[in-house]
Structures are given as structure tokens and as C-alpha cells.
């Protein structure tokens, strides 16, 4: 049997969603962004809502998300994606709007926009990729960098007495009455990928029902700036990130189910 005999319709078990372009990803091999992009586009394709979906890319590694996602998108100033999304959604309440943001963008420079969009209960979805470090600028400390964790601006580890504690912004926004669905997931293992996709789907369904803001954090790795192999980084993530940022739903149908 030759390979051309295998490439047949009936043997097809998986194909890339049409909503991802063929542009080569600019992310480092081993990074979780690629999987998160795919899940997001799969959900939009499966819900058949591309014609009504508008995405916002942030400043950070995913600044070029619009090169990979074959949907209408706007690129936002650093941290301002929730404000940009607010402007769009208020004018087009029946459209689906999402932001895709990293930890520096969402939980440092954009904290005010994040909290106030959540507090107003804007009907859009925030996808928050938390890898505890500034990726694009070369591995500086993020608001979510763990205590003792090394970065290029904390070369001897994050000293919380000087730099404060990592912020659990997801638990914080879950406290606000404007958020309806808040979940924290990961994409490093098949089981996690499935759960993350389910959470993203729920988030978009919340938009459909106009129930309020839906927020999905994806705890991810940054093998390049953590200076590890992809496998090492995923192990390190499980051992260090997950205890501080526990995986699972935090708020469902407007009710807190976990306070972490």
C-alpha cells in the first residue's frame, strides 16, 4: 500500500479548520498558542458564526493572530483589547466578539480595561493566555510570573517582597457580577485540549444568550523564555503553574463554584 492509497475521503479522521490560514505560525515550536488558535477557530466554524465574528488581537506574541485566523479582526493597542471589543459590541450587539490576550496585555497594562469590561458585563469573550512571562519582548517578568521564577528582569527569581505577588486576575474577575462564565484550562494534553475547547464553546454560547462576559484563561507554557524543552516546560507547568493557577471552571451561569 502506498501513501496515495491511504489519502482518501473515508480515511480522513482529522482536518485543519478552514478558519485557520495556511500562513506559517510565528510561534516557537512547543508553544501553546497554536493549539489555542485552532480550538478558537474550530468553535467558530462549528457554530457557523464566521460571518458574524470579530476578533481582537493584542500586543504580545499573538499580535499577528490576524495572520493566522481567517476572520475579520482588529489589532488593539497594548492592553486595550477589552475597550476595543466594547466599542464593537456596543455598536453590534448581535455579533460575536472576542479578545485574545496574553498575561502582560490583560493583567498588567490592561488591568483597568479588563476589570471594567468584566464589571459592565459586556457580552463578549476574553481568551486569556497565561504563560507567566513576556514572550515577545524576550522573557521579562509578567504580572503572573510565579514567586521565585526567573525571568530576564528577575534574573535571581521573583522576589515577592520587592515585586509583589503574581496576580490571579481570573479569580478576581470571577467576583464581579458582570461575568457569567469564567474558566481556567490548559492545552498541553489531549484531555485538556478537549476541555479547553468545551470551555471556549460555552463562552461563545454565553454571548449568543447575551448573558454577560465570558472569560477563558488558558494556562500555557513558554519553553523558549522558560529556557526549557517543550516537554520539560509542560512538566514544569504542571508542577508549578497548576498549583498556583488551578485548572477548572470557576464560575458557571453567573455562580461561583470555586474560589481557589
Amino acid at each position: 500500500m502506498e501513501i496515495k492509497d491511504i489519502i482518501k475521503e473515508e480515511n480522513l479522521v482529522y482536518s485543519k479548520t478552514k478558519l485557520l490560514t495556511d500562513t506559517t505560525l510565528t510561534y516557537c515550536p512547543g508553544c501553546g498558542h497554536g493549539v489555542a488558535h485552532r480550538l478558537l477557530m474550530e468553535v467558530i466554524e462549528e457554530m457557523n458564526i464566521r460571518e458574524d465574528t470579530i476578533g481582537i488581537s493584542p500586543v504580545g506574541c499573538s499580535v499577528f493572530a490576524y495572520d493566522f485566523m481567517d476572520i475579520d479582526m482588529a489589532q488593539a493597542a497594548h492592553g486595550r483589547a477589552p475597550a476595543v471589543a466594547t466599542g464593537i459590541k456596543r455598536c453590534w450587539p448581535d455579533k460575536f466578539v472576542f479578545t485574545y490576550q496574553g498575561d502582560g496585555d490583560l493583567a498588567a497594562i490592561g488591568t483597568a480595561e479588563t476589570i471594567h469590561a468584566c464589571n459592565r458585563g459586556e457580552n463578549f469573550t476574553i481568551i486569556f493566555i497565561n504563560n507567566g512571562i513576556y514572550g515577545m519582548t524576550g522573557g521579562q517578568m509578567a504580572p503572573t510570573t510565579l514567586p521565585g521564577m526567573k525571568s530576564s528582569t528577575t534574573p535571581f527569581g521573583r522576589d515577592v517582597s520587592l515585586m509583589g505577588n503574581p496576580i490571579k486576575i481570573t479569580e478576581l474577575v470571577a467576583q464581579l457580577p458582570g461575568t457569567y462564565f469564567v474558566s481556567r484550562q490548559a492545552v498541553h494534553k489531549p484531555a485538556n485540549v478537549r476541555k479547553a475547547k468545551k470551555a471556549i464553546r460555552t463562552a461563545f454560547e454565553v454571548q449568543q444568550q447575551k448573558k454577560g462576559l465570558s472569560f477563558v484563561e488558558i494556562v500555557s507554557n513558554c519553553n523558549s523564555n522558560w529556557k526549557m524543552t517543550p516537554i520539560q516546560s509542560n512538566q514544569w507547568m504542571e508542577e508549578n503553574m497548576f498549583p498556583y493557577y488551578p485548572i477548572g471552571d470557576i464560575k458557571i451561569e453567573g455562580k461561583l463554584i470555586k474560589t481557589n
Binding site: 481582537i56 475579520d72 479582526m73 475597550a83 456596543r90
Partner: protein, 356 residues
Amino acid sequence: MGELRLMKGNEAIAEAAIRAGCDAYFGYPITPQSEIIEYLAAEETHKRTGMVLLQAESEIAAINMVYGAASTGKKVMTSSSSPGISLKQEGISYIAGAELPCLIVNVVRGGPGLGTIQPSQADYFQATKGGGHGDYRLIVLAPASVQEMSDFVKLAFDLAFKYRNPAMILSDGMIGQMMEKVELFDPVPRNTEFDQSWVITGKTADRERNIITSLHLESASMEKHNQELQKKYIQMQEQEVRIEKIQCEDAEFLFVAYGSSARICQKAVDLARAEGIKTGLLRPQTLFPFPTKEIEKMAGQVKGILTVELSMGQMVEDVRLAVNGKIKVEFYGRAGGMIPTPEEVLKAMKQKIIGG
């Protein structure tokens, strides 16, 4: 004749925005322009025309809401005063870079820093030379009456959409707060159709995806974008200059002033003429594009120019560039909310230009 009303300048802006078919206003309160958002709230714009009104958590958030809404082809605006406009500069630079139409109103107060809430024209440089980072220009309109506060809202939206460029109304606390008779224009219906060639309203099967961005990582692409923007700005300079000339026909001495200063100079022209001194006033209504050619032409007629501003001298630099050394150009201004009298301005004309 349109509906006549006695209104504050700020109220006229708000009423004009509703009538111009504005789809959304995002703002943050700051003196001396808070009447704009208050008027819109009292009008319940969502009921009257469907216009979205949102008080943002900051000026920064407000301008980025404008960026988002403008990305979808909507007619959208924000307003603020000097310190708030400074906060908006990053967003304005992005809006200019991404070529989005919108209206930004600056009811200027004195600075620098927290400054004063009194009227000023000290934001001229910021408004006309860029303001934020990068090479870009705003269309800048300078109203000198409550009537123009209303008329320029419609004009600003038209120009913003014509050029896909942010437009600014550069007013000041005096015109924002004073009450005058205003003839309101008839309401324009809100847009229901959008130029789908660039807006982001969801990718349909019949077109490629649209992307709103100001990011051009490749040097050649960034330079090309800058060159395209410059073409737009040159076209504005050729086509959109607006001025008012008052008693200029036989003038031997000229005042150049905009906004509130122009009103003071207009009175000074009358006082001078009563004394037999032939003065005139050239009032730029657009500060960008600047009436360079019109001022250059007047330099061939008059013996000297006095530029009057509520600042320590900003527009005077552009007047000097236009005159290019041909005749004497001097400056007179007050700052911090101090308002010169017509007599004071005429005295300055006599000392610095006529007698000098």
C-alpha cells in the same frame, strides 16, 4: 431656516452629534466639556436615534472604544479636554495609523499638567503636529462660535469619512461654556449601509477577511504606508483649507487668530478702523490643513501681521513659515485662562507691528 436655539457650545456639539447621525459616543468626564456627555445622557440617545452612549472608565478606554466602533464603519466620537486628550494620544495615533474615521472634540483648558479649567489655546501644537507618536495628521477644525460648534460636527464627520482619517474639533473652554443663538441643521439619518471593502463586521463568503491594524513590521511596508498617509495629507492641504476673512480688502495690517482669539481680534479690527487704522482679520477655520497659501497671499498686501493666541505662541510659527520672512510677524498672547481685551490686542498691534 433650521431650528433656532439658545445653547452652550458644548450642548451644541452634543445636539449636532445626534443630528449628524452619530452612532456612538464614548467619553470620560472632564471640565470644561462634561456638558457634552451630560446632554447626550439627558437626551436618552438610545431612544431618540439608537445612538450608543457609554461613560468609559478612562479617556484611554474611551478612545480605544472609538477605535473599535470606528473599525466597523460606524460614525463615532469622543470628547475631552486637554489632560484627557493627552491620555488619548496613543489611541489617536493608532486610529490615524489604521486609517479610521472618527471625531475627537478637545475643549481646551490651560496647561501644562493639570493646569487650569479656564480656556486656553495651548494645545495647538498637539492637535496640528501629530500629538501622539509617528508621522500623522488630524483634520483640525477651529470653531469661533456656538454656531460653528454645531456646524463643524457635521463637517468633521464628512471629512473624516472622506479621508478615512480622525478629525478633531479644537475648541476652548470659552466657546464650550458660552451661550449663543444657534441654528441647528436638520437631522441626518444614521448610516445603515457600510463600505464593506474595509470594515470588520464579520467575514462573509464574498470577500477576503478585513484587518484593522497599524502594524507594519517590515520597513518597506511601513515606509509605503507613511507615503500613502502623506498623499492623503497633501490632498487635504490642496482641497480642505477653510478660512474667514474679515475686512481684509483694504487692510494694511492683519490679525491672524482662530477660535476665541479671533472674536477678540474682530472687535479690535473695528476699534482700529474707528481710529482710521486699516486692519483686517484672517481667521483659519481649519488648523490642519493650515491656510499657508492664503496667509502668503496676504503677506503681499499688508505691512505686518500680529498673531493672537490664548497661549505663549504656537500658531505664530506656522504663520511665520507661510510669510517666509516677507513681512514682519509678531505674536501677542495670554495664557492660563487670562483673556486679552480688544483694546489690549490693538495696543499690541500698534506697539509690535505699526510702530515697530
